[in-house]
Each structure stands twice: as structure tokens, then as C-alpha cells.
């Protein structure tokens, strides 16, 4: 087994585009759930809103890619309002219901054949991200190696821009949550009626949190499709939402850094398992093939099974996540 190679792969993955996309989406969810207590089970819908904003601007409206970024933000804003305005006056579970339904509705709507002129239906949209890569200071096709990190020039550009976006998002969240605005948001998470009795308009705060979280997720969606250079409806399936939740819980909700660290650990683990499984000695490999039918084709499913097992152990032994405090978490039960 080539441990040097595996190390390089894991390190590269730990700061790669996937980590950035999921970190951003989880930062958004952290604002919504970690600080405001909103149960958003449709975060992938906001990612799709951003992704289809840039895609449809180029493909359908024939306007510039850069306007598409604005369109994506507009889509995410409209989605947040559609979801939040009718439900945030109600109990928390109603938002959960409409968000989980909406993200599937969005996916089915954009892949509907009648929309092929606008969204590319199930084919999706390609050839829209060129203006982004035209700005790349690195050579798009060259490989760059520094330390254990190894990136293609185009991915290096995505990674650079991506980490700048993550830094901005973290800075915003940090400043918000240390301000009186963040304090009111946390109070609403703890007890909405208490906050209202003290003069806080909880409805507006919750709507703001849903919107901020949704906008950050839409940027994640944009970055994802720019990196893939394709908008594909089926990449926005509900599993993505639950991966984002996993990452947030792994890091510990309500802490500024947890989405980033959660995302790094999650994806490092996935890449590590994949590489180890692929490089198992032939003897072990054939045993696994005969006993649990592990083959080259289902290794990627199998690694998720192992990750799931890991998460069960995490939930058992460290339910507060990496940054959370167990004492603080226990306060909820009193």
C-alpha cells in the first residue's frame, strides 16, 4: 500500500473544491440551525438556486456569466421568502416540512422536459463558466504541486477563490454572532416567546437568518457547478442536504469554525477510505469480494457505509461534535 500517495490524496482533498462547497453550505446551515434553531432540510435547494442562476443566465437569458451570479442570489432570496414568509410564524416543524419538499420540487422542476429551453432539463447546462477560468492566473491545464498538495491549474483557481469566499463567510458569521443581532438570534433559538416578550421581532430575525444561510448556500452551489463546469439537476438530490447536516453536527452547531473543520474531516475520511479500499492487498481484497461482495464498482458506496458507522460512533461518544461542549448541550434537557 502506497501510504505516501494516500497521504497526498487526503491532504489535497482536505483543502479541495468539495470541502469548500460543503463548508460554505454548512456555514449557511450553521446560521440557520446552529444560531437561529431553524430546521432547514432543504439546503440543497438553495445550492440549486445559485447553480441554476449562473447556468440559466448564460444558457437561457444569454446574459453574462457575471450577471448570473446576481441571478443566483435573486433566486435564493426568492426561495428563502417563499419558504420563510408563510412558515416562520408557525412552529419550527413547518419549516422543516416545506424545505424538504421544496428542494425535491426544485430538482424535479428543473429536470422536467418542458423546461429544456430554460434549464436544460435532465441534460443540464454546460459551457457557461469560461469567463471565470479566463481570469485564472494559473495555467488551466497544468498541474501544480506544493508540499503534499497537488492540483490542476483550473482547480487551484477554484480553490483559491473558494477559500477567500469561506474566509469572508466566516468573518461575517463571527461578527454577526458577537453582535447584539446574534444575541437576539440565539435567544430566539433558546425560546422564541421569551425573546418576543423582551421586544425582539422573532419573525424578522428568523427570516433574516434563513435568507443569510440560503444566500451562502447559493454561493456554494455556484462554486460547485463552476468547478464541475456543468449544471446537473441530479447532483442536487436530498442526500446532499443530509451530508451538509452531518458535516455541521460533526463540527458542532453554533460554533463559527465547525462547518469548515467538519467538512475537512468528512471529506478527508471519505477519500482516505476510498484509497485504502482500492489499494488493499490482493488477499484481503479477494476475501472481501467473496464475503461482502466488495468490488471496484461499489467501493464508493462502501466508504459511505463506513462513514455512517463512524457517525453512529460519534453520536454515541461525542454527540456535541468537535467544537461543541457537552455540558452546554446537556442544558437543553433540563
Amino acid at each position: 500500500m502506497d501510504w505516501g500517495f494516500i497521504f497526498e490524496r487526503v491532504m489535497t482533498a482536505a483543502i479541495g473544491p468539495e470541502v469548500i462547497v460543503f463548508a460554505l453550505a454548512a456555514i449557511g446551515l450553521n446560521v440557520q440551525f446552529g444560531y437561529a434553531g431553524l430546521l432547514n432540510f432543504g439546503q440543497v435547494g438553495f445550492m440549486a438556486a445559485g447553480a441554476y442562476g449562473v447556468g440559466m443566465a448564460v444558457y437561457w437569458l444569454n446574459i453574462s456569466f457575471w450577471w448570473g451570479i446576481g441571478l443566483g442570489l435573486v433566486y435564493a432570496t426568492v426561495l428563502a421568502m417563499l419558504l420563510g414568509v408563510p412558515t416562520l410564524r408557525l412552529r419550527a416543524d413547518y419549516l422543516a416540512i416545506v424545505t424538504i419538499a421544496s428542494s425535491e420540487t426544485i430538482r424535479l422542476f428543473v429536470r422536467w422536459r418542458g423546461n429544456s429551453g430554460r434549464t436544460g432539463a435532465s441534460e443540464g447546462i454546460g459551457e457557461f463558466a469560461r469567463p471565470f477560468y479566463d481570469l485564472n492566473p494559473f495555467d488551466n491545464a497544468a498541474r501544480y504541486q506544493f508540499g503534499p498538495f497537488n492540483f490542476l491549474g483550473r482547480d487551484l483557481w477554484v480553490v483559491l477563490v473558494g477559500w477567500i469566499l469561506v474566509a469572508i463567510a466566516l468573518l461575517l458569521v463571527w461578527q454577526w454572532m458577537r453582535s447584539p443581532w446574534g444575541r437576539a438570534l440565539k435567544a430566539i433559538r433558546e425560546d422564541e416567546d421569551a425573546a418576543r416578550a423582551l421586544g425582539k421581532n422573532s419573525y424578522v430575525y428568523k427570516l433574516q437568518a434563513l435568507l443569510i444561510g440560503g444566500l451562502i448556500a447559493s454561493v456554494a452551489g455556484m462554486l460547485q457547478v463552476i468547478q464541475k463546469a456543468a449544471v446537473q439537476p441530479d447532483t442536487f438530490n436530498p442526500v446532499i442536504t443530509f451530508m451538509i447536516w452531518t458535516i455541521l453536527i460533526l463540527g458542532g452547531p453554533g460554533r463559527v469554525w465547525s462547518p469548515v473543520v467538519g467538512s475537512m474531516i468528512y471529506w478527508s475520511l471519505i477519500v482516505f477510505l476510498e484509497n485504502v479500499l482500492r489499494q488493499l492487498p490482493p488477499g484481503t481484497r479477494s476475501t472481501l469480494e467473496s464475503t461482502i461482495k466488495l468490488s471496484d464498482f461499489n467501493i464508493s458506496q462502501f466508504r459511505f457505509i463506513l462513514v455512517g458507522l463512524g457517525l453512529i460512533l460519534l453520536a454515541r461518544y461525542r454527540p456535541q461534535g468537535i467544537f461543541g461542549s457537552r455540558e452546554e448541550m446537556a442544558l437543553d434537557d433540563r
Binding site: 461578527q175 440565539k186 433558546e190 416567546d193 421569551a194 418576543r196 423582551l198 433540563r334
Partner: protein, 319 residues
């Protein structure tokens, strides 16, 4: 952490806290009720809150049906009544947490029956809850700071620019510390509110409510589940509110507490106000005794009760 820690604080605490002994307060409204008629709906010399024809039904059940009620400014008014009398529902109607089907509520002459709760807090009317709402995963001092109204840093945009709100934030912090000191909670300032005992939660909730600088404080069972020593401390704090010129309405079950601190008592039963009066007179009121003990507690069980008999009728038959 136990409640006992507060008892010595009451008498031996330093500075302003020591002045808070329950017996040391003057009553600024003493004598105000001398000329008030002791009947339901009686007019008060200077009402801060007036409820008129307030009705709330849940399905077929009329939970609240208050013809008229005036609450005197600057006084401590107790709202009592047997379980299920509609006290908490009435409280919710007064504070905007629930809307009446009919009728109006006015605060200092302005109709507030359609005003959202958060706006009422900004107008100087604040409430606490029967089931104490400490914000568990926030520190005690953050619980306090939350209470301040009109904070510039609570706007989503201004919050991003620290200099716009940092000065106000330190003022709020100072006020929070003063209040924590007055309630003998300073030593808990940086603890999570979730670690407080039940009694301490009652204290923090009252202190937090004061951060809004209210004219009218509405306390829903402030003494429920609190040990006797802390009850004395809480009573002292409630009298302190009156001494500062604030008006207080509180829901309570314990008649000793009611007699000790209230200037005026309003009795509810089956959603209606059946009696009003001074604490001394209210215990002798026949309608009140009937409401608490049952209208026919002195009659043989075999006697058929008159259908829908109101307390008035019973009053007649008994008198």
C-alpha cells in the same frame, strides 16, 4: 449552587443590595384605593391598563369574558383565581401573545389589543412566564443584555460595524451588572442560564424583564416552585418595582403572598372577574369563597344545582 446563597445576601449584601429588604420600602400608592368601590370593574383614579369587553373562546369554551377591568398605575395588583379560571389566558390577551375575539385592551389610553408582543415590550409593558424561560445556552449576563430595548446593534446591517454599537453595548453591560448586583446574581454572570436553579431562574427572568425599563411589569406566577427564603427575596424585589414607580400585575395562588404585597386584588373564576378589592376584604367576599371552594360547598350533595347559576345568584341565595 443552592438558593440559600441568596438569603444572607438579602441582609448582608453590600451597597444597594442591602437596601432591598422587603420591609424597608415605602408604598407610594398607600391610600389610593381608599375611595375605590370594591366591585368587579371598579373605576380607578389613574388606570395604566384598561380591558374592556375582552372575550376569548376556544371552540365552545369561553376561556375569558372580562366586562371591564382597570389596573391602577404604580400599584401592585394581584390576579388570583382557582385553576382553570383563565388567568394565564387573560395574561396572554393583555400582553399580545394571544388575540381576543372581541373587546379592547388599552395601555395608557392607546388600544393595544392588536399590537404584537415585541412592540408592547418597546412601549413599556413586559411580562414573565409561568414556566420560567431562562435562555439555557446563553450566559446569565447575555440573558440580561438581551432585555435592553432599542439596541442599535440588533439591526442586521449595523451589527456588522462594531463602532456603531459598541458604546451602547457597554452601557447595556453596565446596566446588566447593576441589575444582577441588585438581584444578588453577580457571581453567576458568566454561567450558562441553564445551570441555574428554579428559583434563580425566576430571579433572572424578573431582572431581565427590568432591562426593558418597563412601566408595567406582568409576572405570571413569580413565586411558583420557589423555596420560602427565596420567596421573601422575590417579594422584596416586587415591592422594589413599586417603589421605583412601576406598575405590577401578578398571578398568584398563595394567599399569604397576595396579602403581603398586593395593593389590590382581582379575582377570576370561569373566565370572568367575580370580585375586586383590597387584600383584607377579598378573603371575606362570598363570591370568592364560593369560587375557590365550590358554589355549594356548604350544601348537601343531593341538592340539585341551578343550571348555569352565576356567582351573583349564589350570592343572593346565600345572603
Amino acid at each position: 449552587m443552592t438558593d440559600e446563597a441568596f438569603t444572607p445576601g438579602l441582609t448582608a449584601g453590600g451597597g444597594g443590595a442591602a437596601a432591598l429588604r422587603a420591609t424597608e420600602y415605602d408604598n407610594p400608592v398607600a391610600g389610593v384605593f381608599d375611595d375605590v368601590e370594591q366591585v368587579p370593574g371598579a373605576a380607578k383614579p389613574d388606570p395604566i391598563l384598561v380591558a374592556d369587553g375582552v372575550v376569548k373562546t376556544f371552540g365552545g369554551l369561553t376561556a375569558v369574558d372580562v366586562a371591564h377591568l382597570e389596573i391602577q398605575r404604580g400599584a401592585i395588583t394581584a390576579l388570583i383565581g382557582p385553576n382553570g379560571a383563565g388567568k394565564t389566558t387573560f395574561f396572554n390577551l393583555l400582553t399580545g401573545f394571544d388575540r381576543p375575539d372581541r373587546g379592547s385592551v388599552s395601555l395608557e389610553g392607546e388600544d393595544i389589543s392588536r399590537v404584537a408582543p415585541h412592540r408592547l415590550a418597546r412601549r413599556g409593558m413586559v411580562r414573565t412566564f409561568q414556566l420560567t424561560k431562562a435562555l439555557s445556552r446563553m450566559t446569565v449576563v447575555d440573558n440580561m443584555k438581551l432585555g435592553a430595548t432599542g439596541q442599535r446593534g440588533e439591526s442586521i446591517w449595523r451589527s456588522l460595524l462594531g463602532p456603531l454599537w459598541s458604546a451602547q453595548e457597554s452601557e447595556v453591560g453596565e446596566r446588566a451588572e447593576e441589575l444582577l448586583d441588585r438581584f444578588n446574581m453577580s457571581h453567576m454572570a458568566d454561567e450558562f442560564a441553564g445551570t441555574l436553579s428554579g428559583g434563580q431562574r425566576k430571579l433572572i427572568e424578573m431582572a431581565r424583564a427590568l432591562m426593558t425599563d418597563p412601566k408595567l411589569v406582568m409576572l405570571d406566577e413569580p413565586m411558583a416552585g420557589v423555596n420560602p427564603a427565596l420567596t421573601q427575596s422575590l417579594l422584596g424585589h416586587v415591592k422594589g418595582l413599586r417603589a421605583e414607580g412601576r406598575s405590577v400585575i401578578f398571578v398568584e395562588h398563595d394567599m399569604d403572598v397576595v396579602r403581603d404585597i398586593s395593593d389590590w386584588v382581582v379575582v377570576m373564576a370561569e373566565g370572568q372577574i367575580i370580585a375586586e378589592g383590597t387584600p383584607d376584604s377579598i378573603g371575606k367576599n362570598q363570591a370568592v369563597v364560593d369560587a375557590y371552594l365550590g358554589q355549594h360547598h356548604d350544601q348537601d350533595l343531593s341538592v340539585e344545582s341551578p343550571a348555569g347559576g352565576s356567582s351573583d345568584e349564589v350570592g343572593e341565595s346565600d345572603g
